[in-house]
């Protein structure tokens, strides 16, 4: 009777068998890199805002201090988005009728707040507290990036749990003197690791507790 298979069948068989093992491995690898990619983490994503507020202008050029607008950052978990009132402290004097600021003036007049789109966000089950990080010498730009260079605010870091843990495991790599926390142009000293270790002792940071689940989840 006629041949069932052509000679090529053998190589096909081999390929299939190899694929049985290689396939899943490849899939996992692909998935892992995808989860880490900005596509999944929203890194570098900017969002449309009611007012195209420019940190580049206010921080980079005018050199305003973060705390001028983000009033809660030293007191509370939530750094705080400035109330319209705060915007108007300046803009009742300057750019009083700039088209760009119309929504702000409207809000001020009506008392209806502005609706901003959140850029940096962690999931609801993560309890992040700005005040303690600021108090223990973690600079704004460690997580928020070079804000003074951002014409529109964007998410500078992946904000994945692995990324958080990197710093919670090795705070000495990132910690800086409290006075420099709000300094956007601060650069790590060449002996950061020694300085960091010293600061950790000085600020009484309990490194063992930093990686407990209960530090961020409850």
């Amino acid at each position: 009777m006629a041949q069932l298979f052509r000679p090529g069948a053998n190589s096909i068989a081999v390929i299939v068998i190899v694929a049985l093992f290689a396939g899943p491995a490849a899939a996992i690898a692909f998935a892992y890199f995808l989860w880490n990619s900005p596509y999944a983490t929203d890194q570098n994503l900017t969002r449309a805002q009611p007012v195209p507020f420019s940190h580049l202008h206010h921080v980079g050029e005018l050199g305003l201090d973060c705390r001028m607008c983000h009033t809660g950052v030293e007191k509370a978990a939530f750094a705080g988005i400035p109330s319209t009132h705060i915007c108007m402290t300046c803009h009742s004097q300057i750019w009083t009728n700039a088209q760009m600021l119309a929504p702000v003036r409207a809000s001020y007049a009506s008392g209806k707040p502005l609706h901003w789109q959140r850029v940096n966000r962690v999931p609801d089950y993560v309890f992040f507290d700005h005040s303690i990080h600021v108090a223990k010498g973690i600079g704004c730009n460690v997580c928020h990036g070079p804000v003074q260079k951002m014409a529109l605010m964007r998410q500078a870091e992946p904000l994945t749990m692995g990324w958080c843990l990197e710093c919670h495991r090795h705070p000495e790599k990132y910690i800086r003197p409290k006075d420099d926390v709000f300094d956007m142009y601060w650069h790590q000293p060449f002996d950061q690791l020694e300085v960091g270790a010293k600061l950790i002792r000085q600020y009484l940071i309990h490194t063992d507790h930093l990686t407990d689940c209960s530090t961020c989840h409850r």
């Binding site: 069932l4 298979f5 053998n10 996992i28 989860w35 992946p158 994945t160 692995g162 843990l165």
Partner: protein
């Protein structure tokens, strides 16, 4: 047993030629007779399978609150079903492997479908732990894989051990089964009429030509696998038993658990083999291959197992009394007098008392009683599994937490559904693959017919 294996009587009756063996074995696949039985059975089991799928949908939609579990009895049917199904899944590979190594002649007629049974039962078992999860869509968190959280499973947990034990067992059983199938697939390749069927069987036959070298390599490889399989079989249910034994709950934290579970597993597995053997014998007219002597042999195994089970139960009672631990003692009294007592007496009756009938040769060598008792045994073993879960959780340390489990419709639906699905898969199996290892039976027939 080996003595019985070596007697003058034959394991294959009323077969004239090798060709007749091949023909009979290929018949259900290539030109089946009285197919209405098969279709009826398929329809029945198919509807049960739909019931299972339906309840799974309902389960995932509404959450496991649909089961009868409560605050203290947090485990229920799914866990018991898991242990029970996995137990049934034990007989196949053990028959193939252990009996192969010990050169038991009566193995030949049973191993193929017993291994199939193993696969299907183990798959059923594998499903239930998923059904019982609060958030099944995160099942994969139990596996080690690189992730952005930088987290790993916890290797101390018996559930993680389960994953690997059961995973390994299913994979290995499948391979073992497939390796045994290869020569018969080649046979089907030759006999199948349609070109596509021949190509399909051919593809899976991996170019088997039946050359002396093929046979020699196959033989050796098969034996090596058997040698690996035996410790594996023993390990799997030992590890499953640790789900309970590696706790500190009264009635669970017992050192007897691993052997106790393994024997129990074989016990229920062999019982299921009896049922399926009878079904095949009747449905595919395999009378020549599955003889009264086969049932006799299995009945002896069951008898031995039932005695061991009895001893295990007695051991539990003794240690509860002798250990004097408040909770352990209370648990035993609870089993005999509490609301679950009828179930417990049922368990003892079915698993220990009834099988003693096998002492009588008349019972052993009659197919009907053996099958009936085997069904009892399967019920009894399920009762044992559910009571292991219920009784301990219903009565542990603090009386303020004592509760009773009341099963819901969905508990039953999922159990019966899984039975249906199992039957469904098995029915498909007998129509697609040879339910008997033709090449082994041919060998056996030659041995028996050469003076």
């Amino acid at each position: 047993m080996s003595a019985a294996g070596g007697t003058k009587e034959r394991w294959i009756e009323g077969i004239g030629s090798l060709e007749e063996i091949n023909a009979r074995i290929c018949a259900p696949v290539l030109n089946p007779a009285h197919t209405w039985r098969w279709w009826a059975a398929l329809a029945f089991s198919g509807s049960l399978t739909l019931l299972m799928l339906g309840s799974v949908g309902w389960l995932f939609g509404h959450g496991i609150g649909i089961f009868g579990n409560n605050t203290t009895i947090v485990w229920g049917f799914p866990i018991a079903n898991y242990v029970w199904w996995l137990g049934i899944g034990h007989a196949g590979t053990l028959i193939s492997a252990l009996l192969l190594l010990t050169r038991q002649k009566w193995r030949g007629s049973l191993n193929r479908f017993a291994e199939a049974m193993t696969l299907f039962a183990a798959s059923m078992a594998g499903l239930f732990p998923i059904f019982h999860l609060g958030r099944p869509y995160y099942l994969y968190w139990i596996t080690p894989y690189p992730n952005v959280q930088g987290l790993w499973p916890q290797w101390r947990s018996a559930l993680v051990w389960d994953l690997w034990a059961v995973g390994t067992y299913i994979t290995f059983s499948a391979l073992f089964w497939y390796v045994g199938l290869v020569p018969d697939l080649a046979m089907l390749r030759e006999r199948a009429s349609s070109r596509w069927a021949r190509r399909l069987y051919g593809a899976f036959a991996l170019g088997w030509r039946g050359s002396a070298r093929h046979w020699e390599v196959h033989e050796r490889f098969y034996r090596y696998m058997a040698a690996l399989a035996v410790p594996l079989v023993v390990s799997v249910h030992s590890i499953v038993s640790l789900d309970f034994a590696a706790s500190l709950e009264p009635g669970w934290a017992d050192t007897i658990y691993p052997p106790y579970f393994v024997i129990g597993a074989l016990y229920s597995g062999f019982a299921m083999v009896v049922v399926l053997a009878a079904a095949l014998r009747w449905g595919c007219s395999f009378e020549p291959f599955v003889t009264r002597r086969h049932f006799d042999m299995i009945a002896r195994v069951l008898l031995a197992a039932s005695i061991i089970m009895g001893i295990s139960y007695a051991t539990e009672w003794f240690w509860a009394w002798y250990g004097g631990e408040r909770t352990e003692r209370h648990l035993i009294t609870f089993l005999f007098t509490g609301p679950y007592a009828p179930l417990y007496y049922g368990q003892l009756l079915f698993n220990v008392i009834v099988p003693q009938a096998f002492w009588l040769p008349r019972v052993r060598t009659n197919i009907a009683p053996v099958v009936i008792i085997s069904i009892f045994i399967n019920v009894g073993m399920w009762l044992e599994r559910i009571l292991i879960v219920w009784s301990t959780l219903s009565r542990d340390y603090l009386p303020s937490a004592w509760r009773i489990f009341l099963p819901t419709f969905w508990d039953w639906a999922l159990l019966t559904g899984s039975l249906g699905a199992f039957m469904f898969l098995f029915l498909l199996f007998v129509r697609i693959l040879p339910a008997m290892p033709a090449h082994e039976l041919r060998k056996l027939w030659i041995e028996e017919n050469t003076p």
